[in-house]
Symmetry: C2
Subunit: 399 residues, 2 copies
């Protein structure tokens, strides 16, 4: 496997575009299209929130066909809690894409991100679609990645190449998401494309598996969005054939997981107000599930996350988060280390010098390892610090 | 029932004191004693965190006897994650109290609050105890209430009088807690005293019931402390007898619940960085439990809490929090109002004018009512906003 450029158009036969349709008052790009030149197998995972945006409801229905040609994404408006009119809006926008591309409605996937409860400006979007379609190009992957951003500061693109049976294929993607990032679901907007040939059923299985260890292992603020969607399109143009139960499926799965994991880490790094990453690893848990629950509890604790922002270790906060998790544990066996430095040993804090303490949380990425010593389950979560800027951004993100 | 002064010494036969033992580097008061002149029936509820401070472990054991004379509380050091030495420290401190008061160890209850992982300065505390005991007085309730504070800005005292069978009794208490306040447990330090005569078993039942609808219905940051304890002492000096299943038990329960609810609201009002209260009421849920889970999910959402800080309504955040709760709901039936103004009706946002929107979140206390329309369960939670000051306070609260 080797990293390559081009993000969501790294794979052969994929094109992208991003334009300003005037949805965002700032005039920034807000409409993106990812297009496969040929019909692609397609899979998706969506938010588990029971309140779901209109595009999620529509795309969830369409993805059952297991194939797609295009993904249209707008930022600036979530099209959620908009009732029947919101559904008509989304269908009108989809029709404009279908007409401009001469594809069936079942081949167009939709996603939106932005303010909840406002109608999308249908006329503006419909007007922008012919220009958007005209702009699609393999070179325009970054324009597309820009057009899906909201409070993100950075464009998020990852791509790599791998080989099966002597054939090289690519997997590449783009993502957005800086707040409302929760650990228990699909978590944000992401489009991944590949020119490997993957049957739709296998594609879905591998996507769900990869999401479980990538996007579902990060948290920024624990809030669960109404719009989160991850799309995966495979058009087979590389000739690399991926088959269930064979080595090719393992290679493809590894490449997919790596692309999605790197995109997930880019999301946390660009978390609203974030200045540091925290990797929480739990080992010695009764079960894998308990390890994951414990890692999540620590990664979601506001006191742990503000400690990280301050860079001032207060290991009791980590232990308190562990103890509040609904898991089997014995405080007298608890070990915690930070960056390899043992700070809690058998349930008691290990005194460290002020110099050592002052260094513990100063790096850009901090690794905390928690050993429960009650079994062999392990799990991990990555989060960012909770800073004053997070509050500023979210107190002022406006109606 | 009528409010009276004197907090934790409002009830006859209770004395209190607060002094500086030098635990806090600032020199602020950090050691408090509440004393009943005569042996009192006693009950307590503690944190459900599996990592528990030494005083919690000791007091949990002692309270099984159902009686107590004294509660000793220190702030500035949690005595948690301190291993066997921490236990010896706490027992040495308890012995000093037992000797100064000539009481048995089983009659002394202990609580600590402050930094986790540091040893308590035993010698200093032991030295301060004779002076503390000398200071106890009915007039010193506020000194005691001050000595238990950490990052709190305000002393928290509440007391009231009620009558049963022509006899007047008092219930009064003090509390502390401004961060690490979680909704699913006892939640902070609190001592409530009464001169009613209540059998220990009934006392415990009524305490658990009152905690469920007071301290367990507030949240500041969702973090669960290792040290939370609520103590209730009843010395019977008023002659008012409280009997199970009788009207007297209902009257006492009402008085207790009101004192604890008012103390709980004082905690949220003094939440770290808090500027506004949010009362979340959920009705029309499938069950009472589901209503409570839903109310908690909304009250714990960082996006809802930062919205409150900004004073800028973004009702989608409330709906998203509702949808992420593990409850039975149908988004198409969801109604939400803020301060009586309908903002979501049958799952769609109700457009309101900018003038109305600008007013919705401007009051000091905001009421949000969520109607799920799927049953008759109801529940409520009170929380505060999440401000930049919360982050400042917790990023800098130091080792």
């Amino acid at each position: 496997m080797r990293p390559v450029g081009n993000g969501v158009t790294a794979a052969a036969g994929f094109l992208a575009a991003g334009v300003s349709a005037g949805i965002k008052p700032s005039g920034k790009p807000d409409l993106a299209l990812v297009l496969s030149e040929t019909r692609a197998a397609a899979a998706a995972v969506f938010t588990r929130n029971q309140v779901q945006a209109v595009p999620v409801v529509i795309s969830r229905q369409r993805i059952r066909h297991g194939q797609a040609r295009a993904v249209l994404i707008n930022s600036g408006c979530a099209n959620c809690l908009t009732g029947t009119p919101g559904r008509s809006d989304a269908l009108a926008i989809s029709r404009a894409v279908e007409q401009a591309l001469s594809v069936r409605s079942s081949e167009v996937l939709l996603a939106s991100t932005g303010i909840i409860g406002q109608r999308v400006p249908v006329a503006q979007i419909v007007r922008a679609i012919p220009g958007l379609v005209e702009h699609v190009d393999r070179a325009h992957h970054t324009a597309a990645a820009e057009a899906i951003l909201t409070t993100d500061l950075q464009v998020k693109e990852v791509a790599l190449q791998a080989q099966v049976d002597g054939r090289t294929f690519s997997v590449g993607g783009m993502a957005k998401g800086a707040g409302m990032i929760a650990p228990s679901m699909a978590t944000m907007l992401c489009v991944v494309t590949t020119d490997a040939a993957v049957p739709a059923g296998l594609l879905r299985t591998l996507l769900v598996e990869a999401a479980a260890v990538s996007f579902n292992r990060i948290t920024i603020d624990g809030d669960m969005s109404t719009n989160d969607s991850v799309f995966l399109l495979a058009n087979g143009q590389s000739g690399a054939a991926i088959r269930p139960g064979q080595r090719s499926a393992r290679v493809f799965s590894q490449a997919l997981t790596r692309v999605m994991t790197e995109l997930a880490l880019l999301l946390v790094k660009d978390g609203e107000g974030a200045t540091r990453l925290l990797h929480v690893e739990v080992i010695g848990a009764r079960t894998t599930e308990q390890a994951q629950v414990c890692a999540r509890q620590v990664a979601c604790s506001p006191l742990v996350k503000t400690m990280l922002a301050g860079g001032d270790p207060n290991v009791g906060r980590i232990a308190a988060a562990v103890g509040s998790a609904p898991i089997t544990m014995d405080p007298r066996r608890l070990d915690i280390d930070i960056g390899g430095q043992m700070v809690v040993r058998r349930g008691a804090v290990v005194p460290v010098s002020r110099t050592v303490a002052a260094q513990l949380l100063q790096a850009d990425e901090i690794a905390v390892r928690i050993n429960l010593h009650v079994g062999h389950g392990s799990g991990r979560m990555t989060t960012c610090d909770l800073t004053e800027d997070y509050v500023k951004i979210n107190a002022r993100y406006t109606t």
